[in-house]
Point group: C2
Chain length 318, copies 2
């Protein structure tokens, strides 16, 4: 047996105090029509309305604010990301007077590259493999002295992503369950810890695309199994768990459910049509899981974490 | 000179009290990015989050509740509409135990016909001309004894559409101006009266598509000019003003601006992308007008009425 130190209740509480002035307290929305479809009472935590359109801004802000608190003279951060973390880190860096060096695969959509540039981030393109990304990131760090902020496998990130669920629990203290998407596991680990500390009676379920089901496989086999050639429309959930997120998830998650891309697209369309909000496919995974597992969720009060709303509007899958 | 009686401050106040338990108090959203683009402080009143996805539910609810108050034994309502009013009347009828008889042109999209059916409305199809619609409506009324609820040219409707702007003014009492879309003029008349009574210092501007610019022409020529063969992507704004809405608009509107369909689509895409909310083209007209007339709106506090969010997601114009 090995003991590990994970973020405490106090860490999450402090992270929330730290980032609160810089983030949006996102609304929790409901829809009678979707309740009727799901035969449950649904509470959607809308991180699509968070700054940069995703929960990632919580973690990026916390990591940078902690660097500031340490007063170590670091004024640059770096990461590799093709997604929401890149934008979040670029904006949080700009807000707090840091430089942001962002390694992106050369096939990253121009719209995402431009978003990072708009926020003042400096982009370094590389081949679209994990090895190439890490190599390029190492180069950039050597060159710039920037501090690396990992997208999810880092406690400074996890304790801040926990604050989305903490706010949801503050607003609705009697949830029977929370359903949270899982990719690298930063949001899920945080959500699990928030429920554990602030609402221990609330079960937490993870929602994962069939095409990137490493968390599901790891949970069923009780060992770490990485994704191989993951493919899903939920492009925020392609990554595998990390060594910081994996143990938290294995210890606290109630169950992990997978859904197909068709089910994700169907759920996304329902939310767009009925709730009139724009969510990205990675967010729709949670509602797809609720629709698919009525025996679990029927007649319950369910919190659903909508992780973000960044989608290329010229490539809508319906 | 002819004196006319229009809804009073007290009428609007009572309409609000009457419908309040049955409608959503919709949120007012802001976006720093859109403020930056417009060089103004923008407050979006989100009627896309209203029941049935449009402000029309306010008017339909008020008209039916007033029938109930009169206790005249009427238990059926009828209208002709291919749009949001049809859905609004069908749902309001259902909620209050009325039958709803809805005349729709036979080319009305199936998705709209189905929405009316889902709310329990009975549909009567007719040829897609105004004459055919009115003729069919007369038949239906003779057959059923239903009370006709016009989509906009009726004070019971106008006094209730006023409550959207009234809520906006309650939430943000210091607006320099409100920009409101104009089609038949129900929402605009109501908005003008709300500002006149509850915030007389707030100017009200109307926003109209170039392809259906009857209000613009009427305002410039000081006489009623109907639309001829209107064509615009803002399909909620195709209708001409009515004899109840025209005089209110001529008396109280500060100015009317038109925008092209390209400008409407551009504004709609910005709101979808940046605010992560779904609005229909008829709602985007107001933001397009603000972007196009910076000399008027720059550095001001501007309320924008987003009228609805019902759009066929398989036919997005970008």
């Amino acid at each position: 047996m090995k003991e590990i130190l994970i973020p405490s209740q106090e860490n999450i509480f402090q992270a929330h105090e730290r980032i609160r002035p810089f983030i949006h307290r996102t609304p929790v929305l409901s829809s009678q029509l979707l309740n009727k479809l799901a035969h449950a009472e649904l509470f959607f935590k809308c991180e699509n309305f968070q700054k940069v359109g995703a929960f990632k801004y919580r973690g990026a802000s916390n990591a940078i604010l902690k660097l500031l608190e340490k007063n170590a003279g670091i004024k640059a951060v770096a990461t590799h990301s093709s997604g929401n973390h890149a934008q979040a880190l670029a904006l949080a860096a700009k807000v707090h007077g840091f430089d942001a060096h962002i390694v992106m695969p050369e096939n990253a959509p121009l719209v995402k590259q431009n978003a990072v540039k708009d926020y003042g981030g400096k982009i370094y393109l590389c081949k679209p493999t994990l090895a190439a990304r890490e190599e390029k990131l190492n180069e950039v760090v050597k060159l710039t002295g920037a501090h690396v902020i990992h997208p999810y496998n880092m406690y400074d990130i996890i304790e801040a992503q926990a604050t989305a669920a903490k706010e949801l629990i503050d607003d609705f203290p009697n949830l029977d369950a929370i359903v949270c998407p899982v990719g690298g596991g930063g949001l899920l680990s945080g959500t699990l810890l928030a429920a554990h500390y602030f609402s221990p009676k609330t079960l937490v379920f993870a929602a994962e695309p069939e095409g990137a089901n490493d968390a599901f496989n790891s949970f069923k086999e009780h060992k770490f199994i990485a994704s191989e050639n993951p493919y899903t429309i939920a492009d925020g959930l392609l990554t595998s768990l990390g060594d910081k997120t994996y143990p938290i998830i294995m210890q606290y998650v109630t169950d992990i459910f997978t859904v197909s891309d068709a089910e994700i697209i169907h759920a996304m369309k329902l939310i767009w049509e009925r709730m009139k909000i724009i969510i990205e496919p990675s967010s729709a995974v949670v509602f797809a899981v609720v629709l698919k597992n009525k025996r679990i969720f029927e007649n319950r009060k369910i919190g659903l974490i909508l992780s973000g709303g960044n989608i290329d509007l010229t490539k809508i899958p319906f």
